[in-house]
């Protein structure tokens, strides 16, 4: 699946959900795996940087 789900944690860091090929839609995975109450965004995998040198400093704007 070439989509990713991005949400911001309480400390300002971001988490990125990588969906598995499990038979669920990206929306179903978001509903199940995003922590309750968190706003999330579905983006293309290509929108996520592949250089993870400063991964812990990533934020969502």
């Amino acid at each position: 699946m070439d989509k990713r789900i991005v949400y911001t944690n309480d400390d300002g860091s971001i988490s990125i959900i990588i969906p598995a090929n499990c038979g669920l839609t990206i929306e179903e995975i978001a509903a199940k795996d995003v922590p309750a109450g968190k706003e999330y965004h579905i983006v293309n995998a290509s929108d996520i940087p592949s250089d993870r040198t400063f991964r812990n400093a990533w934020t969502w704007e």
């Binding site: 959900i17 598995a20 669920l24 995998a45 991964r55």
Partner: protein
């Protein structure tokens, strides 16, 4: 009225000694069919051999009588670059929480949080450096967290991370 099974014509409806309608499908008013079918229990079944634990063990090509406990979830993913799942079972997604920190989300939750989660990692570094470590934590029925790192456990992304869950 009676019905007979005729070897040549199939099922016939007989009335006053004569076949009055050879087409049972249209010859019987469904509203006149009453009663219940007899119950079927296992004793009526023939030709079925009994099941033995050894039959299940033989499916796994194992010897001895020790029981087999199959994995309830597993995943192999790349934790570097564009993080991606290579293959998995009963895993809906992994959550990239930061460098060397991932949550494994189960498609179907475990019955409780007392399962065994085994994590391993494979590094692309072939010389020098510390041994790579994969550690599990935060056991939930729907997820488990795995961290990868090295030395005194500075988190680091690894190219192959494996997690297997038994319960």
């Amino acid at each position: 009225m009676a019905t007979t099974i005729n070897g040549d014509t199939g099922i016939d409806k007989v009335q006053d000694g004569s076949v009055v309608n050879a087409d049972l499908a249209t010859g019987i008013d469904a509203a006149k069919l009453t009663g219940t079918l007899p119950a079927i229990d296992g004793s009526a079944l023939t030709g079925i051999s009994s099941y033995a634990d050894s039959d299940a063990l033989s499916l796994f090509n194992v010897s001895g009588s020790a029981p087999v406990y199959a994995s309830r979830a597993w995943v192999n993913f790349n934790g570097t670059g564009t993080v991606a799942i290579r293959a998995s079972g009963n895993v809906s997604s992994i959550t990239d929480n930061g460098t060397g920190n991932y949550t494994i989300n189960f498609t179907t939750a475990m019955p409780d949080a007392n399962y065994a989660a085994v994590a391993t990692t494979h590094t692309s570094y072939t010389t020098g450096g510390e041994a790579r470590i994969a550690a599990t934590q935060d056991y939930q029925t729907g997820s488990v967290v795995v961290e990868t790192g090295y030395g005194t456990f500075a988190n680091q992304d690894e190219p192959i991370v494996n997690v297997v869950v038994f319960r």
